[in-house]
C-alpha cells in the first residue's frame, strides 16, 4: 500500500445520510475478480440514467468536482453490505479521503486496508466544511483539515494512523506473531 500523503483538493459534498454500499457500488458490478476498474461504476444508479447518460443534477457529474479527492457526506456512511468493492470503487474513482460524522463499522475498517482515510468529524465542523467552496488540505500527520480562515483538527486511532502513513500491510505484521498463533493453537480448545 502507498504511504498516505498530504491531500489538497476541493471536497465533493454528498448531502445524504445512511449512504449504503449498494448505492456506492450496485451489485451488478460485483462480479469482477480483480480490485481495479470499479471507479466507473461508483454511485452508478445515482450518476447515470438507465440509458447510460450522466444525470446532471448528481453532484459527481458537476465538472467542478471532477478531480476531487475528498468526499464529504453525512451520518452512517457505508452501511449495509460488507463489500470491499465500495472502497475499491471510491479509490479507483479518485477519492482518498471521506469525511462524515459517522461511518458503518465494516466500511470504516475496509478503508484503512486500502489507503483511504475516513475522518469522523462532529456535525458542527462538518457544517463548516459543507459551506467551504474552495480547496481544502487534509494532513494526516498533524490530524488537521485546513480550510480558508480555519484549521479543524480530527481524531484517529494511533495505530490506524501509523498503518496509513507507513502504508503497512496487515498480513506481514501478523505473520511476525507466527509463534504466538502456533502457541495459541496448541494451548486452547480449537474446535
Amino acid at each position: 500500500m502507498e504511504p498516505f500523503k498530504i491531500i489538497k483538493s476541493i471536497a465533493t459534498p454528498l448531502d445524504k445520510v445512511n449512504v449504503d454500499t449498494d448505492q456506492i457500488i450496485p451489485k451488478q458490478f460485483l462480479k469482477l475478480v480483480q480490485k481495479t476498474g470499479f471507479g466507473q461504476y461508483l454511485f452508478y444508479d445515482w450518476r447515470f440514467s438507465t440509458d447510460g447518460t450522466p444525470k446532471e443534477d448528481f453532484i459527481l457529474n458537476n465538472p467542478k468536482y471532477r478531480d476531487s479527492k475528498i468526499l464529504l457526506t453525512r451520518d452512517n456512511f457505508g452501511c449495509g453490505s460488507s463489500r470491499e468493492h465500495a472502497v475499491w470503487a471510491l479509490l479507483d474513482y479518485g477519492f482518498v479521503v471521506v469525511i462524515a460524522p459517522s461511518f458503518a463499522d465494516i466500511f470504516y475498517n475496509n478503508c484503512f486496508k486500502n489507503g483511504i482515510l475516513p475522518i469522523k468529524l462532529d456535525r458542527k465542523k462538518i457544517e463548516s466544511l459543507f459551506k467551504t467552496n474552495s480547496e481544502i488540505e487534509v494532513n494526516l500527520e498533524n490530524q488537521t483539515i485546513i480550510i480558508p480562515n480555519e484549521t479543524i483538527s480530527f481524531d484517529i486511532e494511533s495505530h490506524r494512523k501509523k498503518t496509513l502513513l507507513e502504508g503497512l500491510d496487515d498480513i506481514s505484521i501478523t505473520l511476525q506473531y507466527e509463534d504466538k498463533i502456533s502457541q495459541y493453537e496448541k494451548s486452547q480448545i480449537v474446535f
Binding site: 445512511n18 449498494d22 462480479k31 475478480v33 470491499e84 463499522d105 495505530h159 498463533i181 486452547q188 474446535f191
Partner: protein, 471 residues
C-alpha cells in the same frame, strides 16, 4: 468481575493483546463465497502465501448462482467465471467446497448451522455482513471485507478493536406467534434503535421471549443485527441450541463433552454490565412492513405511510431522507399500508428461507391461488431445506398456488443473478435490505415476514395476517 457472554468468547480467543491498538483474535471458522473471495486468493498467490488452516475454512457458491434448472449452463458469463474461479481457488488451496451441484450447497448462513460448522463459543467470520446470523448459536460471528478475508486465509486470525456491548432485552408474550414473527421483532427493534443504533457494538439478545424462540427464529433475529448497525448479534446457547446441532455432519467428535463446557460457560454472568441497554415489549407489536429505503423506515401493517416530518422527529437529515425515500418508493404519506398493491413476492434469503419459514408460509397458501397480477417465487435457503420441504409436500402446495419453486441461493435478496425486479416493480420480500435498487435498479422493496409475504401474494396487496386463520 462479572462478564458478558461476548467478553467471555472474546477473552478466550485472544492471541495478541496490545495496550494501544487492536487485538489479534483467533478465528475458528472461516466461510467463503464466490463474490468477496477472488481478490483475496489473488493476494495470497501474489505474495506466495498459503491458507493456514484449510481444515477450518469452508466454501460455497450462493450470491450469484441461478435458481433455475441446475442442469442448464449458467448464461451470465461473468457469474460463471466467478463460480469457476472459486472452484479453482478451493482446489488450489485445498478448501472444502460445496459447489453448485452439491447436496449441501446453499446460502452460506443457512448451511453453516445446518452442517454443524457453526458452533457455540466459536469465532466465525465470512466476507458477508449477514455473518451475524451465526450468533444465534452463541458464536461471535461477524462480516469482514475482502482484505480481511485474505488476512484470515493467511493467518487464521483477525485484528479487531474490542466492540462495546449492547443488551437488547425482549420481554412479553406475542398475541399470535404465527402472525407476529421473529422478523417482526427484529424489524421493530431496528425501527426503534435506527440503522446505526448498534454501531460499534455486539448485541446480546436476552429475555424470555428469546428463549421461547426456535433456533431458526433466533437466526432471523441475529441475522438482521447488521441492519441495526451492529457487526454481531449473540444469543446464549441453551438446550435448544445443543439439540439443533446434535448429529449434524461437521460437529466435533467430542460434541457431548463440549455441551457441558458450553452450558457452564456461555452465558452472561448475573450483574455483568453492558454499555447500552434497550428493552422491547412484544405484547402489542403488529406485523411490520417497511415503507422506505432503509430497514428503520418501518411501520405496523395496520398503520399508514408516515409523513416525513412525523418520521424524522425534528432531524432534518432524516426528514430529507424520508422525502427522497417516498419519492423512490412512489408512496404518498397517509396511504394505508394494506392499500399498497404489489407486483412481486420473494420468499427467501439468509433472513427467512429456512424450513420453518416455508412451513409457516405454506399454511397461508394451501388451497389458494396467487393473485393473477403477482409473480411470486420461493427460493429455499439450501438444497437441504429444499429437500426437506419437498418431503413435506410444501413444493406442491406452493406450485399449485402458482408460486415458482426454485433452487437455493441468495437470489433476489441482492439480485446478482437473473432474479431481479424490473424498474418500478413493487415487491413484498422476506429479505433484509430495502435499499434503493437492491433487488434491481428502480425496484421497490417492502420487507416483511414470510407469512406476510405469502398473504400479500394471494391478495395482491398487504394484509394483516392476524385476520387469517393460521392454526
Amino acid at each position: 468481575m462479572p462478564k458478558t457472554l461476548f467478553e467471555k468468547i472474546w477473552d478466550s480467543r485472544v492471541v495478541v493483546e496490545q495496550k494501544n491498538g487492536p487485538t489479534l483474535l483467533y478465528v475458528d471458522r472461516h466461510l467463503v463465497h464466490e463474490v468477496t473471495s477472488p481478490q483475496a486468493f489473488d493476494g495470497l498467490r501474489m505474495n506466495k502465501r498459503k491458507v493456514r488452516r484449510p481444515d477450518l475454512t469452508f466454501a460455497t457458491m450462493d450470491h450469484n448462482v441461478p435458481t433455475s434448472d441446475r442442469s442448464l449452463p449458467i448464461i451470465d458469463e461473468i457469474s460463471a467465471r466467478q463460480i469457476q474461479v472459486l472452484e479453482k481457488n478451493c482446489k488450489e488451496f485445498d478448501i472444502q467446497l460445496f459447489d453448485i451441484n452439491s447436496p449441501n450447497q446453499g446460502i452460506v448462513h443457512v448451511i453453516g448451522p445446518e452442517l454443524g460448522i457453526t458452533l457455540p463459543g466459536t469465532t466465525i467470520v465470512c466476507g458477508d455482513s449477514h455473518t451475524s446470523t451465526h450468533g444465534a448459536f452463541g458464536a461471535l460471528a461477524f462480516g469482514i471485507g475482502t482484505s480481511d478475508v485474505e488476512h484470515v486465509l493467511a493467518t487464521q486470525c483477525i485484528w479487531m478493536e474490542k466492540p462495546k456491548t449492547f443488551e437488547i432485552k425482549i420481554e412479553g408474550k406475542r398475541k399470535n406467534n404465527h402472525a407476529v414473527t421473529a422478523k417482526d421483532i427484529i424489524l421493530s427493534i431496528i425501527r426503534h434503535i435506527g440503522t446505526a443504533g448498534g454501531s460499534g457494538t455486539v448485541i446480546e439478545y436476552s429475555g424470555k421471549t428469546i428463549s421461547d424462540l426456535t433456533m431458526e427464529q433466533r437466526m432471523t433475529i441475529c441475522n438482521m443485527s447488521i441492519e441495526g448497525g451492529a457487526r454481531a448479534g449473540l444469543i446464549a446457547p441453551d438446550e435448544k441450541t445443543f439439540a439443533y446441532l446434535k448429529g449434524r455432519k461437521y460437529i466435533p467428535k467430542n460434541y457431548d463433552e463440549l455441551i457441558d463446557y458450553w452450558s457452564e460457560n456461555l452465558k452472561s454472568d448475573p450483574g455483568a454490565s453492558f454499555d447500552k441497554i434497550f428493552t422491547l415489549r412484544v405484547d402489542k407489536i403488529s406485523p411490520q412492513v417497511t415503507w422506505g429505503t432503509n430497514p428503520a423506515m418501518t411501520t405496523d401493517v395496520t398503520s399508514t405511510v408516515p409523513f416525513p416530518e412525523e418520521y424524522a422527529k425534528g432531524n432534518q437529515d432524516e426528514e430529507k431522507a424520508a422525502i427522497k425515500a417516498l419519492q423512490y418508493m412512489d408512496l404518498k404519506p397517509g396511504t394505508q399500508i394494506t392499500d399498497i398493491s404489489i407486483d412481486r413476492v420473494f420468499i427467501g434469503s439468509c433472513t427467512n428461507s429456512r424450513l420453518e419459514d416455508l412451513i409457516e408460509a405454506s399454511k397461508i397458501v394451501k388451497g389458494k391461488k396467487v393473485s393473477p397480477k403477482v409473480r411470486a417465487m420461493i427460493v429455499p435457503g439450501s438444497q437441504l431445506v429444499k429437500k426437506q420441504a419437498e418431503e413435506l409436500g410444501l413444493d406442491k402446495i406452493f406450485k399449485e398456488a402458482n408460486f415458482e419453486w426454485r433452487e437455493s441461493g441468495c437470489s433476489m435478496c441482492l439480485g446478482m443473478n437473473p432474479d431481479i425486479l424490473a424498474a418500478g416493480e413493487r415487491c413484498a420480500s422476506t429479505s433484509n435490505r430495502n435499499f434503493e435498487g437492491r433487488q434491481g435498479a428502480g425496484g421497490r422493496t417492502h420487507l416483511v415476514s414470510p407469512v406476510m409475504a405469502a398473504a400479500a401474494a394471494l391478495a395482491g396487496h398487504f394484509v394483516d395476517v392476524r385476520e387469517l386463520d393460521l392454526n
